[in-house]
Structures are given as C-alpha cells and as structure tokens.
Symmetry: C2
Subunit: 198 residues, 2 copies
C-alpha cells in the first residue's frame, strides 16, 4: 500500500504485524497515533522498549516479571508448599484475579504438543521438577483444557507420582477446548474446588 | 490491574488506551511485544515516534503526509481543476484505491456536527474556499453519507454555488453487491430518488 506517505505506511505495517490486527484496524490505530500529543506517543514508545528491556523470567516460577523474583514468589505470606502449574503468565493472572488462591505458581510457557513439535524439553518442565526437591506438598496442574494441556497434565502427573507429592488437576468445570484466560471467575473457582488427585 | 509487574501493566494500559482495543486484546498485544526480538520492538517504537514527528498536513489539500506537498498534489499528471472533498485521509485512500479518479483532493478532517459542537471553522473549509480562487472546474463532495456528512455537503454546496463552479455530490444508493432485502429504508428511498435513465 503506497496510498499513504512512507512513514505512515511503515507505521500501519508495524501495527498490522501484531497478532489479530488486520489492515483496517492497523490504519485506524496508525492515524490515531499520529493525531496524539507528541508526549503520549513518546511515552508509549518508551514503555514498549522499557517493557521489552526489563521483562524477564522469575528465577523461581518463570512468570514474566521485571524483578529477579516475582512479587508472588517473594511474598512470604503465600503458601510456598502448593504450586499451581499454568501454561502462560496470562493464565496465572486469570487465577490471581480470583483472589482465592494463595499458593505459588509455575509457568511452563507452553504445553507439550507433538503436532507442533513441542516436547517436554521445550517448556519449563525440568525447572518444575527441580522445584519439587524443596518442601512441596501439592502440585495443582492448571494447564488448559485442550489436547495439549491435557497431554502436559498427564505427562506431568506421571513424573510427579513417584515422588509421593500430591498431584491434582483442576476440575473440568472448565469447558473442554476452552482457554483459561477467557473463562469467568466462578467457573475458575469451581474448577479449583473440584480438583481431583491423579 | 496489578496482576502483572509494573512495566507490563503500563504497556497493557498503553495498548488499552488505543481506540477499539479492550483489556484482553491489550494483554495479548503486550505479551506479544515482550516476546518479540528486541530489534523489532525498537523498530516499532522508533517508527511510531518518527511518524508522529514527521507527519504533517499537505499545504495544498491538508491530507496527512510527510512532505510539504503530498505526492498527489505534487503530481502534474493529475487534473488539478477537479477537487474531491473528503472527511479524512482514510476516505481519500479509499478513493485512491479505486485507481480511477485522477483529480486532486481536499481533506476536511471532520464534518460539521452541531451535536458535537463542530462548526464550519473547526474543519478545513476556509482553506478549501481559498483553493477555489485558483483554476477549479468542479468540486465533488464525497463526505460520508451520515447526518454530519450530509450537513457538511449542504453547507459546502451553498458556499460554492455563488462562485459558479460546478459542485456535485457522490451518489447515495444501494451498494454494489448489496441485497435490497437488507438495506435500510432511507437508503432505498435515496436510491429511488437518484435513479438514472438507462
């Protein structure tokens, strides 16, 4: 599209490269941007770079954070003997939002998917197993209720069982095929309550 | 939302401040961003600032461009005696895409709207009238077919008529490929009124 001047086309292209943003939306966003006060655009740009710069993995649970140890892992009031295993930081945030879970997390950053060629070594599984050497009472597997999530849960439970640590799976009150991130809090809590030992 | 670390929340907030981007989409975009290679994020940020910095109004037609005179106005092959009046640069781009219009444009950057308190002096109307002092044969009013667009068209035609310059309005009717059954009554009546002999 050379309908717009060079730098505007470039900005539209950048927006269109974002996931779920089509050409029309990208145009709308780009025009919005160039009509904003200069300070606002600069703040956006700098926040973007700062986030990319500072965000790293928590050394404990591997969630995305801007500290060495994330606030949840650093919180001594939380129950460090219960670990909830989730696929992504967004899934973690979904459970955090319920405000009822006071254990800690482990973020796998993905799920086992033979289809996509993602094996156990491609996600943060090894790191979870290492954490189990510490004082852990229960591992709650809260991977998504998808094929990949279930596969990961099965694989994980088989790894954990020999250690004697209690291992549970959130209940399938979560609709099959659903993504944790988009599910209402009541359902999330129902699933937590109904967890079953594997 | 303090579910995420400070800088991540800030980035989500920035994305959520964009028009049409909700909280969930903003989260998705922010996570996408921090997972991108650093160069990509830097390029996005710099394109954003560069666009905001360089984009200005064409001195002739007031479209958004990065030059003093936009490529269309600077193009001597185009018919400078025909001016199409549009509300936004995006509307201009829509007509440019057809590839069949070879006149020039005038971008009003809005439309008269008593409801929103936008009067004739708040859009680039004066500048259009000034352009009419040059050698202009026809003004084609291509504002949107909304209440505001129609109001602007009416106002404009009254201004132009005394000058003796030909003044036309793009046709309003059933869109090509449109099914009569799904088209609103006002459009149907407009199409009937505007019927042309075959």
């Amino acid at each position: 599209m050379d309908l717009y001047s060079g730098v505007l086309s470039k900005l539209i292209e950048e927006f269109a490269s974002l996931p779920g943003i089509g050409q029309k939306t990208a145009q709308r966003l780009a025009f919005h941007m160039v009509n904003q006060p200069k300070e606002k655009v600069e703040r956006f740009a700098s926040v973007m770079m700062e986030a990319r710069e500072k965000i790293c993995y928590c050394k404990e649970c591997f969630t995305l954070t801007d500290r060495e140890i994330c606030p949840i892992c650093a919180d001594e009031k939380r129950d460090h003997s219960t670990i909830m295993v989730v696929e992504t930081t967004r899934d973690q945030a979904a459970y955090e939002k319920t405000g009822k879970y006071d254990g800690v997390y482990h973020v796998l950053h993905g799920a086992i998917s033979p289809m996509l060629g993602i094996g156990p070594n491609d996600i943060r599984l090894k790191e979870l197993i290492q954490r189990l050497e510490k004082d852990v009472d229960e591992v709650i597997i809260a991977t998504n209720s998808t094929l990949e999530g279930e596969t990961t849960a099965m694989y994980l439970s088989k790894l954990i069982k020999p250690t004697g640590i209690k291992c549970s799976r959130i209940a399938s009150g979560v609709p099959v095929g659903g993504d944790l991130e988009y599910i209402d809090e009541v359902t999330l809590l129902r699933a937590l309550e109904g967890r079953q030992e594997l």
